[in-house]
Amino acid sequence: MVLYDSATLGGSCSGSSSSSSSSKPPPLQQRQQTQQDIDGFLAGAGYRVRSSELRKVAQRLERLETAMVNSPADLSQLASDTIHYNPSDLASWVDSLLSELTQPPTCPSEFIMDPVSNQTVVSDAWTTAEPHMPQVHQNISYEQQSLNNQLTVVPAMEEDSGIRLVHMLMTCAECVQRGDFSLATSCLEDMQGLLTRVNTVCGIGKVAGHFIDALSRRIFQGIGGGSVNGGSAYENELLYHHFYEACPYLKFAHFTANQAILEAFDGHDCVHVVDFNLMHGLQWPALIQALALRPGGPPLLRLTGIGPPSPDGRDSLREIGLRLAELARSVNVRFAFRGVAASRLEDVKPWMLQVNPKESVAVNSIMQLHRLLGSDPNRNSPIETVLSWIRSLNPKIMTVVEQEANHNQPGFLDRFTEALHYYSTMFDSLEACTVQPNKALAEIYIQREIANVVSCEGSARVERHEPLSKWRTRLSGAGFRPLHLGSNAYKQASMLLTLFSAEGYSVEENDGCLTLGWHSRPLIAASAWQAVSDGTADFPA
């Protein structure tokens, strides 16, 4: 039976030429134009459905598929009936099928096959949400067996959707890089439609959702950053704390850095630690306890914590300092705390730290140095400024922990691709955590990073991660030499990971530095450095 007028197929070709001639109308009109084009294609193919309805159609088809799979009735009945359901009107056709399946099915297989073959013809014409059933079988026989075959490939379809999502993300990013925002916008809509078909609770769907958000933020709100960086200090600390609990990256960072600092302070009685980002001070209790128990007794410990100023007059730095002091008092470690409030690390001057020349200094930077890499042509490079004053303090050790990723490339598409891989891996590793609300808040923490990497530029983009090899070059060039982290740190890191009970984490040693990764993709790297002495007598042990 012919279900549509084959002459109208010729009409689909005329629709495509109308969209290319327009000269940069505002995005809204452009979108409407594209929608009209799609409607034209659909009409040309004989379908009476509008592109705006396609998402609903897709959802209903999903339900139809579920109903078919779960239907207790013998589906061979579908092959025998001959009632005409007008498949060209997709929406009502799907609805009728759905209602049939909840009752004894009477829909003939022919009417299921025909739209399928039609859609394989026109599937190149648009990329918005399509019904589930086609695409896999190019040679469709009008028999009932093929219906069953189609139903069994549904799980593969979901994977297929995931892969398509990734491809579309890359396409969209490429459009953004080219400046073709109209095409990027339509890509975004397509992706939103695809998202309804993919499981967004885990896996590629969830990560893709975050990247789609970040891209739309970039396209519609510009690259100024807006609310991405506007989180209050309190929120940031809370998210950071939950990220600390949910996955081992920060724990690994803290424990490894502490071990290196502990070993560097061996034999010194007056020690001073400078922390570039105090947050809740979760790193320091373990160091205080280790110093309390070290053979020879604890030294006098001074801690200087740098953090953002608190907006409402609460001195959060001081509160953390008091807590740490109380803990130090309980374990009999002489302790002194000083807080330095600065909104940016480059605003800190060495005199604020009040370093005593007789004490041994350790500088601790957990994921802070990459924020200094944004270069403003009007000022000196902030990273060089900071590294030079660190060097002037002559620290016994500088512990640097950074994300192991290359998110500071100049080209947007490269950065986007790298970020997609990196954060997909990180989200995979987060699946192992089941403790709520840690996991949800940790995801928000990561999501903010994604938004910053993808949707910000210039001084608003602070998440400028660089891989370990680049940091090595940079730090060696600034007058530091690497210190090897040693087997104790490695042992401790391995034990810590085993505790996390998730079989995917791996600690690796990389030329004296330790990296923690998920399934052999390193995600975070810890290293230790010492200032190269300028020929004076103080040679490190």
Binding site: L282, I288, Q289, A292, V435, N438, T498, L499, S501
Partner: protein, 159 residues
């Protein structure tokens, strides 16, 4: 005299055999402690619900100290004051040492035995610090439902 005495004993021997008191462990607390010292953590907790005396003894921190450092070379004396300041050996064992040992036990490496306790101590300290925040602060910094750094130890993770 001696004969009289022995005859008396002999006469009352039969009655003594019936009236001789049984051995009652609660009368011999030192033996009880020796026995409880050799129990594992779970049995010790069960023992604490037997009677009041056992409960008092089982709560004694030195028993738990024994548990923590069993199979490990004796720690320096300074450890005790630190652990007591951070919340005591029972808490250290139930919160940290036991889960750490059971999880690391799956990947048994002989070189780790002493380090397990070290790591447990560090985690214990972080946990103490977080509890400090919960009780002292004005409530904004760390709330009731705040993350505990030991949560990842308590909840079993299925891979």
């Amino acid at each position: 005299m001696v004969e009289n005495h022995s005859r008396e004993d002999h006469e009352t021997g039969g009655e003594n055999k019936e009236k001789r008191p049984k051995f009652f462990i609660n009368d011999h607390v030192d033996i009880l402690i020796e026995i409880l010292e050799r129990l594992d953590g779970r049995s010790l907790c069960v023992a604490a619900s037997v009677c009041r005396l056992w409960c008092t003894i089982a709560r004694n921190d030195s028993l738990w100290e024994n548990l923590c450092f069993r199979h490990v070379s004796p720690p320096p004396s300074s450890v005790r004051s630190v652990v007591l300041a951070l919340g005591g050996y029972k808490r250290l064992y139930t919160g940290c040492v036991r889960p750490v040992r059971s999880r690391l036990g799956r990947v048994r490496r002989a070189t780790w035995a002493g380090d397990e306790v070290q790591l447990s101590l560090s985690l214990f300290c972080v946990d103490y610090y977080e509890r400090l925040g919960g009780s002292n602060s004005n409530g904004r910094l760390v709330e009731k439902s705040s993350p505990s750094s030991l949560m990842f130890l308590c909840k079993p993770v299925n891979v």
